[in-house]
């Protein structure tokens, strides 16, 4: 398979998965570029005994998590630099914005609020939840993607739901 063939076969998979992590079009596009550049550079090391889509899924998950962490670091650094620079109207760092193109208008507010809490979950819980509830993967598929046992995946998803409940209820003051 040529690189172009790999790209056309997997571009929507990569872009949509990245969207679930960042919930906006521009960031998901940037992550997708990172993923395919990485695929191009490391296709030689791909073990042909495993599925190509599984490998691409893993790269996308890792690149998405790295992107989110880098953005959080930039945000923290932006706060520090604002203490030392002159007060001006310049935007020192990008504010997060919910602009998920796959979300219907009537669901936007509810999902924006939900993702606000999902984004605070630990990486592995967030990934398990995204793969389970949005990507609609089975426990066995998630276990293969995350290199875990199905039991571990079940536990992760359950803990994610529990944590989400706590965060939502705390934010609503219940």
């Amino acid at each position: 398979m040529t690189f172009e063939e790999i790209y056309h076969a997997h571009k929507n998979l990569v872009f949509n998965l990245a969207l679930q992590y960042v919930q906006n079009y521009e960031d998901a596009e940037e992550i997708s570029q990172d993923v395919f550049v990485s695929i191009h550079q490391s296709i030689g090391s791909f073990n042909e005994n495993s599925k190509l889509s599984t490998w691409i899924y893993r790269i996308t998950i890792n690149k998405s998590l790295d992107f989110v962490k880098a953005k959080q670091r930039k945000k923290r650094f932006g706060f520090l630099t604002s203490l030392f620079y002159d007060d001006s109207n310049d935007v020192k760092h990008d504010a997060p914005h919910f602009d998920h193109p796959g979300v219907q208008l009537e669901d936007k507010e509810g999902l924006a609020n939900l993702f606000k809490h999902i984004n605070q979950l630990p990486d592995n819980q967030k990934t398990a939840l995204i793969l389970s509830k949005i990507e609609q993967k089975s426990q066995a598929e998630i276990a293969e993607l995350m290199n875990l046992s199905p039991k571990a995946v079940e536990s992760l998803v359950q803990r994610a739901k529990t944590n989400l409940s706590k965060k939502i209820n705390d934010s609503e003051g219940k």
């Binding site: 172009e4 790209y7 571009k11 929507n12 990569v14 872009f15 949509n16 969207l19 679930q20 079009y25 596009e29 997708s32 570029q33 395919f36 550049v37 191009h40 998920h100 193109p101 796959g102 979300v103 219907q104 669901d107 509810g110 999902l111 939900l114 809490h117 939840l129 509830k133 949005i134 609609q136 739901k161 529990t162 989400l164 409940s165 706590k166 939502i168 209820n169 609503e172 219940k174």
Partner: protein
Amino acid sequence: MTNQQKQPNLDLLERIQKVDAPPFLLTRIQQRLENTYRTQFSPRVVFGLGVSLILIFTLNIVVLVKYNKANKVETNLAQSMNLLPDNSLYK
């Protein structure tokens, strides 16, 4: 978790629809790849480095050969006059 805690409505997540990847994504990826490889493996840089290394190597060989020849000539001359080939006063 207590019974009073509200369960998150995760069914909303299942309503998220899949969308198409951006139309010019491949072009942008190809541009990035080109820029990456152009910086790393510029033909001019590689050629320049190669020529420099060959020149330095050749120069070193020439200097070594000339030094060895000169050394030999001096030794032969000194020996034919029954003199020491170096500057030491005492043996």
